[in-house]
């Protein structure tokens, strides 16, 4: 069995006891990528050369001072391609950024590198992180390792697949309306959507600036905590990053859930949720109650308007954020054009895919004078109501739980022609982005052989509670060790 099947803490111990070196770990990971990724398509590009340099450096540091080194030192990781990596092409899954080599790295990437993590490369995603299935990548399909004809979820599909298939130990993704939690649920891994401002967005190619957050995807909740400890914290280069202390995430893992008040939002469960997914959720709730949590029915009444508000605010920001992709400085450009307007039109028509163009058009419309009040301003009011719902509920309970997604991974092509059905995939996840609160998706079981995630949402800057509940679910569900391709995947957990 691959070394990469082990959690990070175990690998860290192995590195320190010289059971294997970082270079050996990297070689093992590269071998897995070579064997599996032709089929899976998680990586857009691998960076074996720089990775080897990083691994050799990690080995030197491990022999010099093994005690004080970060647990991530020498651990194989990879980054979603919306995160800028100095000297390494970064495309955000879009033709319009083909050939863009950033002269700087995202703060989160810098912090991972400073901790000694060894990056194998850049991971596929929906174009500019817009999508729920990874089918909007301009470059390649990424397959769900549990069923090759199914989507991995999106937009951080490559990030979820690389961890689920045990190609690397951890990846960074981004979550704007569920783009970490959804693929985590579909692929059976842990995915964290930190509170807005918890992780610096500097170097994250913006989709919707007021909603985007970078977070880890890992095999275990503890692994996610180890990565969060490295990437979280205020950054002078991102004025929206928060100095709020992260809390003791590792300590929270062992706290148990006895006495914890866990809310179940009735509006979330009233949605059209697949029976198998509902079954796993009910079982998780039962297990939490048995472990001493107090289950409380709560109400988030603004939920029904959240999707509409999201699809006004996010495209509005998209229409502005993507304006810099004008064909002048990056991408395939526009060839020749008769005038400036034609140059812009050609560059952006060649460079952007249909979903990105749809959202730019939508966002341009809702910000236009005469429509601004009816759409953008009203959507912002809904956003405030959604945030107030959470504020009120978090006075009654410590966290809320729900399925991460209404379904398991759907088939490739199934929703491509129906944007609204695709958008509905994010119904349970996007309210947390509107409100800026913390969230996590943790593998809780299986339905028809496909993974099902449980979503735990905590207060703004309340990640510790999310990790506490997720760790308990992980321990009780006992599913994280089950990996794709394993014989005898149970119909449901337990």
């Amino acid at each position: 069995m691959s070394l990469l099947a082990r959690p990070i803490a175990e690998l860290a111990r192995g590195l320190r006891s010289r059971d294997f070196s970082s270079v050996e770990l990297l070689e093992s990971a590269l071998a897995e990528v070579a064997r599996e990724d032709g089929e899976l398509g998680a990586f857009l590009r691998t960076t074996a050369g720089p990775a080897l340099v990083q691994a050799q450096r990690a080995d030197r540091l491990l022999s010099d001072d093994p005690a004080s080194a970060s647990p991530l030192l020498g651990i194989p990781v990879a980054y979603k391609d919306v995160l800028c990596t100095k000297g390494v092409e970064t495309t955000a899954g879009s033709r319009i950024l083909e050939g863009f080599i950033p002269p700087f790295s995202a703060t989160a990437v810098e912090r991972m590198e400073a901790a000694g993590a060894v990056s194998l490369g850049k991971l596929n995603c929906d174009e500019f992180a817009m999508g729920s299935s990874n089918e909007n990548s301009a470059f390649q399909a990424t397959r769900n390792p549990w069923a090759a004809d199914r989507v991995p979820g999106g937009s951080s599909g490559g990030s979820a697949v690389a961890v689920a298939a045990r190609l690397v130990s951890a990846t960074l993704g981004t979550d704007t309306g569920g783009s970490i939690r959804l693929p985590a649920s579909f692929c059976g891994v842990v995915g964290v959507k930190p509170s807005y401002g918890r992780v610096s967005r500097y170097g994250l190619i913006a989709f919707a600036s007021s909603l985007d957050q970078i977070g880890p995807l890992t095999k275990t909740v503890e692994d996610a905590a180890l990565v969060m400890q490295v990437i979280a914290g205020v950054d002078p280069r991102d004025s929206t990053s928060s100095p709020a202390p992260s809390g003791d995430l590792l300590g929270a893992l062992k706290s148990g859930v006895a006495g914890l008040r866990v809310g179940i939002p009735k509006e979330y469960l009233a949605m059209a949720i697949e029976a198998g997914v509902r079954g796993v959720f009910d079982q998780s709730a039962t297990l939490l109650a048995a472990a001493g949590a107090q289950l409380v029915d709560v109400s988030l009444p603004s939920t029904e308007y959240a999707l509409a508000a999201y699809y006004v605010i996010a495209p509005a920001e998209v229409s502005s954020n993507l304006a810099r992709m004008d064909g002048v400085r990056f991408g395939p450009g526009f060839g020749t054009a008769a005038n400036l307007m034609e140059a812009y039109e050609r560059a952006r028509h060649i460079g952007f895919g249909p979903e990105v163009r749809r959202r730019i058009a939508l966002g341009t419309y809702v910000l236009s004078s005469g429509y601004y009040d009816a759409y953008y301003l009203r959507a912002q009011k809904v956003r405030t109501l959604v945030a107030k719902d959470f504020e009120r509920v978090f006075k009654e309970v410590d966290c809320v739980i729900s399925p991460t997604a209404p379904t398991t991974a759907f088939r490739m092509g199934e929703r491509v022609a129906d944007p609204l059905a695709m958008y509905a995939t994010d119904l349970l996840t996007l309210p947390a982005n509107l409100a800026g609160v913390s969230g996590i998706s943790v593998p809780a079981g299986f339905a028809d052989g496909l993974p099902v995630g449980l979503q735990v949402l905590g207060p703004y800057m309340g990640e510790a509670t999310c990790f506490r509940v997720a760790a308990a679910v992980e321990e009780m569900a006992q599913v994280w060790q089950i990996r794709p391709g394993t014989k005898g995947v149970p119909e449901a957990a337990g």
Binding site: L83, C84, T90, A92, L97, F100, P102, P103, F104, A106, R201, Y202, G203, L204, I205, A206, A208, S209, S210, P236, R237, D238, S239, T240, A316, E317, S319, S320, L322, A323, R324, M325, D326, V328, R329, F330, L340, Y344, T364, L367, S368, S369, Y372, Y376
Partner: protein, 483 residues
């Protein structure tokens, strides 16, 4: 005859702030005279993934300006995105301020033709400058354009004036007063030629005595005080002619052509840009505490009007002297240093604004930065007032110390330029002068007073300007008694 059409004019002024760094990144705000695109970083290049960070000094300078213009400073302000495509705008939007600017409701008082005019200031807000384009040939037929982003992101303050001006001549006067205030505050260098201070104008006409405004025309591309007045005069005439012929004035943007001395239509109302303003999500709102505002208000320097009034009263200057001396805060400080060094104020003022200023203008240096130190000018002025040197000699000495930076007394001593009041020596010059000007002497004696002047001039010339002219005059009268 007064026209029945009255112009209603308001100015929009853009002023680059004298900060060390750009508005949202660490690049230098000074961008002139360096290779294209060398003063840039990922942030001001608008590379994907980058984020802006507010330059707090720019916020401070804007609030200082707003306070000097009697504005209110709301407690809550924010940045917005102004979206439009243009190659000099790397992000595809300009970070500016839309509905909640840093300041509102101010006013500026200025003088024009002896009248004091008070014009409202709608708002002073903060934004970022764009880059610059270099076209191959004319913009409409160039094969390509080159983009230079050295200027992109330089802090830019926009000062929007109320449409309170009623004559084209008021526009340059308003702008001059505003420019002087900005220079006093040290927030802008006032250089219109290089574009660190830029001005657009709005002008519409209405029937005198009514309040219904005609269509508003925005005029751009004016880069001097003169061109602003000329452009507005042209618009006033153009719009008047249309209205006289019962033709409509189109609401549009027009550009001033300095070459042709006309305005040309650039963009009609229908083609007006849709900027799709919305709050900048990458920046938190600005919360301006009252204590901070009061701290800045207390630290405001003396402003031009106050400086003029104080100089005039304290040193008994004429209004013109006070105006000229208070042209800049540095000039005023120079004058006060000259007086403090012992010069008689009135004489010091004349020597500064007439003689020294002329030398400085010719050499393109400010008075405060020239080689004549205040102590030297004071010494020179005192030499003249105490009649140790003549005015003519003093001018020569000034020209010399302007070049060398030497002390006036040294120059006077080393060149023997001290004023001659010794009657024996003067008598020698006088005899020589009379010998060569016998007709003038006779004229004087027969009653022509003006002839005495030419005799004094002859003595001054013979003495190379060192003779004491008052004494020469007296001695000549004594020497040529009238019967």
């Amino acid at each position: 005859m007064t026209s029945i059409w009255e112009p209603v004019i308001g100015l929009e002024v853009h002023a680059q702030l004298l900060t060390a760094s750009k508005m949202f990144c660490g690049c230098r705000a000074q961008y002139l005279g360096i290779p294209p695109n060398s003063n840039t970083c990922p942030v001001c290049l608008g590379l994907p993934g980058t984020l802006p960070v507010i330059n707090q000094v720019a916020v401070e300078l804007t609030i200082r300006t707003a306070l000097a213009l009697n504005c209110e400073i709301p407690e809550f302000s924010k940045f917005d995105r102004k979206n439009y495509f243009y190659p000099d705008l790397p992000k595809g939007y300009q970070i500016s301020q839309f509905d909640l600017p840093l300041s509102i409701n101010g006013c500026l008082e200025f003088e024009v033709e002896g009248r004091v005019v008070r014009a409202g200031i709608t708002r002073v807000h903060l934004e970022e400058d764009a880059g610059t384009l270099h076209h191959a040939g004319e913009i409409h037929n160039s094969a390509f354009s080159l983009v230079d982003l050295n200027r992109a992101g330089v802090p830019l303050m926009e000062i929007v004036g109320e449409p309170d001006l009623r004559h084209p001549a008021e526009a340059p006067a308003y702008l001059a007063a505003l420019r002087q205030t900005l220079i006093y505050l040290g927030v802008n260098d006032g250089n219109m030629e290089e574009g660190s201070l830029r001005c657009d104008a709005n002008i519409s006409l209405r029937r005198r005595g009514t309040s219904t405004l005609g269509a508003k025309v925005e005029v751009k591309n004016m880069n001097s005080f003169r061109s602003i007045q000329r452009a507005l005069e042209f618009e006033l005439a153009r719009q008047t002619e249309l209205l006289e012929q019962d033709q409509p004035v189109a609401q549009e943007t027009r550009g001033w052509s300095d070459l042709e001395q006309v305005t040309v239509s650039q963009r009609s109302k229908e083609e007006a840009q849709e900027y799709r303003y919305f709050p900048e999500p990458d920046l938190p709102p600005l919360v301006i505490s009252r204590a901070y505002v009061e701290e800045l208000r207390a630290a405001l320097p003396e402003l031009p009007r106050a400086a003029r009034r104080r100089l005039q009263e304290r040193y008994q200057l004429t209004a013109d002297q006070a105006r000229l001396i208070a042209e800049t805060a540095a000039d005023a400080a120079y004058f006060e240093a000259v007086v403090a060094a012992g010069a008689v104020p009135h004489a010091a003022a004349n020597w500064q604004v007439q003689n020294l200023q002329a030398l400085c203008n010719a050499a393109h240096v400010p008075v405060s930065g020239c080689r004549v130190l205040p102590g030297s000018l004071a010494e020179l002025v005192t030499l003249v007032v105490t009649e140790q040197v003549s005015g003519a000699v003093a001018k020569e000495v000034l020209a010399e110390i302007f070049e060398s930076g030497a002390r006036p007394a040294e120059v006077v001593a080393s060149k023997g330029l001290g004023q001659v009041s010794d009657t024996d020596r003067l008598a020698t010059f006088i005899e020589e002068a009379l010998a060569g000007n016998q007709k003038a002497a006779a004229d004087y004696q027969s009653g022509n007073d003006r002839a005495l002047g030419s005799l004094v001039g002859a003595v001054m010339a013979l003495s190379k300007g060192t003779a004491n002219p008052k004494l020469v005059s007296q001695l000549l009268r004594d020497r040529l008694p009238r019967s």
